[in-house]
Symmetry: C2
Subunit: 200 residues, 2 copies
């Protein structure tokens, strides 16, 4: 009696670094049907192992600023000393095709996207189990204390925005956290605006 409409949704995931967002988005790309990870443009230098066009599209500051001027971005933000942004063009094409698009962005980007899309967007904030645990995870990756402290204060500022999201999920256990996110996404298609009623 009900039929799913062919339309994609935007899935926005934010969290402080160290809360497991990268691992989570990697898993979600394999688990959510018809999903595509949005690739941001950034002015920061590639880290070792990062591939242009897959992890980010690496662009010059001049190029980035030109695109801002031309209003080509759906959202863009400055994080630490670097710029990050998502181009409008591809997103619109993908949504029309019925693709679900996964965004791994910070609260500033999330806020901008949420202004432009309302019903067809789910925003999820991932929290670490505690700040102590977050510090432990960050220290494991990075030896420089100053760097860890910088990340921690950035994390605290990011966490302040947790309640602006549709859902907040604690990543205390990767499996549980993933299954909660998958449930959130599969529930979304049960909303009436995602379905049509056939003639009866």
């Amino acid at each position: 009696m009900l039929k799913l409409k062919t339309k994609g949704i935007l899935i926005v995931i934010s969290s402080p670094s160290g809360a497991g967002k990268t691992t989570i988005t990697k898993h979600l790309v394999n688990k959510i049907p018809n999903v595509k990870l949005s690739v941001s443009l950034t002015t920061r230098k590639p880290r070792s192992g990062e591939v242009n066009g897959i992890d980010y599209k690496f662009v010059s500051l001049k190029d980035f600023k030109e695109k801002v001027k031309k209003k080509l971005f759906l959202e863009h933000a400055k994080v630490f000393d670097n710029y990050y942004g998502t181009l409008k063009s591809q997103i619109i094409i993908d949504l029309k095709k019925g693709k679900n698009i996964l965004f791994d962005i910070d609260w500033q980007g999330a806020r901008q996207i949420k202004k432009k899309f309302t019903k067809d967007l789910i925003s999820i904030f991932i929290l670490p189990p505690s700040l102590k645990e977050l510090k432990r995870r960050l220290s494991k990756r990075e030896k420089s204390k100053a760097f860890v402290n910088k990340r921690m204060s950035k994390a605290k500022r990011e966490i302040m925005h947790w309640s602006e999201y549709d859902y907040a999920v604690v990543n205390d256990n990767l499996k549980n956290c993933l299954s909660k996110i998958q449930n959130i996404i599969s529930n979304h298609v049960l909303k009436p605006h995602m379905q049509t009623i056939s003639k009866y």
Copy 2:
């Protein structure tokens, strides 16, 4: 890092009769934690097997109309030739205690409750797989063709309101339908207004 608040929610389930709502609510009462089924007042006569105070609180038309005048109802509606309604008093006490309250009501009642509660309410519409299947189910219970036809036209009018709900679920298979509803409810507690962040 996040803690659930002690507060109950309202879970409103509507559907045309024959879509399996009674079976579904009976199962949900056993599966949703801390849940209570709201018992409506009605002016209709008890059917065989119905128990006063459990299935409904059976009251006289005079008594019902007095309560309407005194504004004691959270919602009330006339369905066929009978009145149905939910009293405010108990609901408010139960919500404060953190109880989740399940409502098995029609679209008229749902609309009234939704006006009074917004964030703390989930509304779900249950649809039959098809009208043909609905007719088959109704004819099984009831031999009178006239009665079945009356129910069918009532069902069509009820179904017209499916898109006013937060979620619409087809009951093609009881197990799947129940698990979808349980997911919807367990997701709700992941919304930020249901949680508080502990000091960090």
